[in-house]
Symmetry: C2
Subunit: 599 residues, 2 copies
């Protein structure tokens, strides 16, 4: 699917991909007020410099649903500056534009409007931050759309069913089908997928000649049983999915081995929370598509404020201090001071020769003070960094693992003993846990829980294709991948594996919605059984491969980040949404083991 040489010829689409610009984020902050603006400017400039054919945005161009006047004004101004001009557009649109661009009274692509001279068309879906509201179902993007500065697409007006009709683009011999779906509440979209209410239309002729690109703005990481969109739900005829909403930059395309498409997650261009995912270096992508091959070149963003995050467990430094050391708190504070200073020095080194990067970095030090330590006065601490750090007030984040576990315990009331019979869990490998689960599950009613998770449309189609054998392979693959994945992150059974991701008990919280889904699942299972297909769902296994949610819940909406930090993990109290009802089984078990080992 990939091609190495990045040739810009008459058959190659050159597309700038970016998402989650969050224009206007912290625009009233004394230090960070211009960050999101500077970065949009950089992105548009980059598009112009690279003479791209078009810009593709994955939603949340605006941070606020009702952007401020400054925000709209700046956005309009920048788009007019960079995206209007004389450069000719070298591709055509073959699809019915009145279907593609259905949010304005000008249902055609802006560059074909005879009154506008567009040099770089922008195609954008809306995100959850700038989603349509009100009786008119208009979003902030529609103001740009009405002005002719942006082509808003992927807005489904029906709540009954979604039919995604692609924009069919042709440049030379390359045919690009651009699908988009603006943000929809995850649970609702999940249900619609499960109920076969989501359809992606395909051109009738030359189906295999089209490069199929899909832009979506949903949770990719799991925030609850149905509070995300499993990649498996997406049609497998797709070639590339540009996944918006998730803020961590994972822009290098990863292959979904079940669906056989690639997913690129550009990530936000501004950090809207101080979680590990946001600390990953921010990029945008220069995507080239020629025929059915693609090449994604990632471009680091220079105007993005640096963000360093580090975790320290005070208990790990017994040579320096214990809770009983005289002036322990003072010593801890100085220790943290040194850590922050270190990060600042690293930031300064990295910033050398980057005049566009703002001077003051974002710094977060997460301090696990469990084991009897006391917290120190953070406001005094902040004062010492007020001239060097962009977020002096919230550098330090105190947390106690112990307490967190206790919080989790309160939520756990399932009899996990039935499942895990052996008490000697230490040393148990992940695959053993998984295997054990399946063994247990097959004997019990909990099989239904399994199928609930996995029986999406895509899976069903997968089965329908008589590729049943593939499922077994898939399970094996997933197990291996999961193990590699966890190992790569240093996760062993000694660590508190977030079992929310592994298993859950959905007997509680049987809301109407979930019942609906369960029924659909049962129907699907019946269908499979009828076909004599007893293979287990692969989806549950795939979930093991999902990075765990380490969002700190510092954003107002369902946590958009997908944190994989710098070797550290935290659990947010918020950001779990409906997942709060999930019952954690293994995690508690393992945590208790670890506690035993440690203390």
């Amino acid at each position: 699917l990939f091609f190495a040489e990045a040739l810009d010829d008459e058959d190659t689409f050159k597309i700038l991909i970016a998402t989650d610009v969050h224009l206007g984020y912290l625009e009233k902050d004394a230090i960070r007020c211009n960050d999101s603006y500077n970065t949009l400017n950089e992105i548009l400039k980059c598009a112009k410099t690279n003479q791209v054919d078009f810009i593709l945005l994955g939603g949340d161009l605006f941070h606020e649903n009702k952007p401020s006047r400054r925000c709209l004004h700046s956005c309009i101004t920048m788009l007019r500056q960079y995206c209007m001009g004389d450069s000719p557009i070298r591709f055509n649109i073959l699809s019915d534009q009145t279907v593609n661009f259905n949010t304005t009274q000008f249902p055609w692509v802006n560059y074909q409007d005879e009154n506008l001279n567009i040099s770089i068309p922008v195609f954008s879906i809306h995100g959850n931050h700038d989603d349509p509201t009100g009786a008119e179902g208009l979003c902030a993007l529609d103001l740009l759309s009405a002005s002719g500065l942006v082509n808003h697409f992927g807005h489904s007006h029906s709540v009954e069913r979604i039919e995604i009709s692609p924009i069919l683009l042709q440049k030379g011999s390359t045919k690009l089908a651009l699908y988009g779906l603006g943000s929809i509440p995850d649970e609702r979209l999940y249900r619609m997928f499960v109920n076969n209410q989501v359809t992606m239309l395909r051109p009738k002729e030359d189906q295999d000649k089209w490069f199929n690109l899909f832009t979506i703005h949903q949770n990719r990481s799991k925030h609850g049983p149905t509070n995300y969109i499993p990649e498996q739900f997406l049609d497998d005829f797709l070639d590339l999915v540009v996944w918006g909403h998730e803020h961590e930059c994972l822009i290098a395309p990863t292959r979904n081995e079940q669906q056989l498409f690639y997913v690129t997650q550009p990530g936000s261009s501004v950090a809207t929370s101080l979680s590990p995912g946001e600390a990953t270096k921010k990029h945008i992508g220069l995507l080239r598509v020629k025929g059915r091959k693609m090449n994604l070149h990632k471009i680091p963003l220079k105007t993005v404020r640096q963000f360093f995050i580090q975790d320290v467990v005070l208990g790990d430094y017994q040579d320096l201090f214990t809770p009983d050391t005289p002036h322990a708190t003072k010593k801890v504070e100085e220790f943290c001071y040194a850590k922050v200073t270190e990060m600042l020095e690293e930031a300064e080194r990295e910033r050398l020769g980057c005049p566009l990067t703002p001077e003051k970095p974002l710094i977060r030090l997460r301090v696990d003070y469990s084991g009897g330590f006391e917290t120190f006065n953070t406001s005094r601490f902040s004062q010492r960094f007020v001239d060097r750090v962009a977020n002096p007030k919230d550098i330090i984040h105190f947390l106690r693992r112990r307490e967190q576990k206790e919080d989790i315990k309160d939520e756990v009331n399932v009899d996990y003993g039935k499942l895990i019979k052996t008490a000697a869990v230490e040393g148990l490998r992940v695959e053993d846990l998984v295997k054990q689960y399946f063994e247990a599950a097959e004997q019990k009613v909990q099989l239904s829980l399994l199928t609930e998770q996995g029986m999406g449309k895509a899976i069903q189609e997968f089965v329908d294709k008589d590729e049943k054998d593939a499922i077994e392979e898939l399970i094996t693959y997933q197990l291996e991948k999961t193990q590699r994945h966890l190992q790569a992150r240093g996760v062993t059974t000694e660590q508190d594996i977030d079992a929310e991701v592994l298993f859950r008990d959905s007997k509680k919280n049987t809301t109407e919605e979930e019942n609906e889904i369960r029924e659909a699942m049962n129907r699907a299972r019946a269908h499979r059984l009828e076909r004599g297909d007893n293979a287990l769902d692969a989806d549950i296994l795939d979930e093991l491969a999902e990075p765990m949610d380490s969002d700190e819940g510092s954003v107002p909406f369902p946590a958009p980040t997908r944190g994989r930090g710098r070797g550290s993990r935290g659990r947010g109290g918020r950001g779990r949404g409906r997942g709060e009802d999930c019952k954690l089984m293994f995690s508690k078990f393992i945590e208790e083991c670890r506690c035993d080992t440690r203390q």
Copy 2:
């Protein structure tokens, strides 16, 4: 100055003038929600049909400072629909556009932007409803401006001094200097005028060849001592002033005999209060300028909802009922029912053959129930008109003249006896009152009060021109005009003349601002005395000619209407602003006389 034949030739500017569109007014009302939108559509369509050279808007295009998404979206859509296209623009701009259009990063007229195909340029100042706010000093208009849909001009960024630099337009041999000044709080602008801080720049060459057009958005009628802009403040080289903000349509140009310019007050295109001024039929203007001659053709707006207002004084119908009549209240209600029905019938007759006019009119019946009558239940009354009237809930407005007077009395604590020595005021003519005032004033310190009102820059220039003789003529003229004016409106001394307009005592409320003004006035007077010019100020006399404020105070901002209703007048409790401190002298006196006569 006028020319009769309306020729559209290559030397004739054709300008559509409109103001106070108040887009978005009552957009959530079930009945009136589309009114402002339909009328903007009509205005733009009219501009297109008439193939005007440009549209000139006098402010308050938007009703809300932060218009709703629907509002912005509709406005953008309509402007794009009507003002973009292939019709060529047949005039040039000779002035420095970076000075004229200073609110965006595109400081040039939109039709000269090579990326936009503009068929009808819109030039607009901002009003008080859509005025600039925030650190950036941006207003809603600037969003349109940044999008290239409107040319926002007349925005002064300094609070120290205002320099109005005209847009110099040329079409064929006609030279048009377009001046504009966006809304500024009246008191501040008043003070700036008085302090010579307002300058209008003029082209150095061929000064007498330019037609000078000025657009302003301020109180024209007096809402307080300095809470309006006297026409005399405006430079006399002007030919025509397009006065925004005032909602009453007085579009036929009226000559200011002192300044020798004409004023056209197009009025709002939607009624935003149920005051008499809003009941005047709404129009926009088609202004033609050729050389230094003009022709203003008024065009009635068809989409405007009809508004009928009527006053009844229950005490005037003693043949029908008195407070002692059995079932008097019931009879009064039926009487009012008949009156409203009458108005509805009139509305229906008028609406015949006007398919664009909304079906349900606005109806207001002001019922003076003084003299012992009781009010009836208006909600029950409203119920009877719910299907026929657009504002069923507030058709009836009960008021008592007596009570109003008492309200006024509370505000009056000046010893007016000193001024008016004769008790037999009845039959006193207006000019006698004025004469008497001047006689008294000259003997007293109150002379300073007089000069405070009048010593604007324009007057000073007038004097500087050694046209002193003209002042006496002017006084005579104004006296006669005032008398005609009052007589035309049926005002005699028996009626409660609003003496706020006549005189006031400024000894109280000597805020810093007013002191400043007084000092400037004193300087100016000293200057005049130095020149040996003892003529009285003409301005105070001119004020007699000002129509009285009959705004009901039902608008959130300083009352924008300039009510001259259908033969009736009310006094709002609000809308007087700083004028509340003014002391009413004659009015109280005269009212008391009337009371004596009546009872």
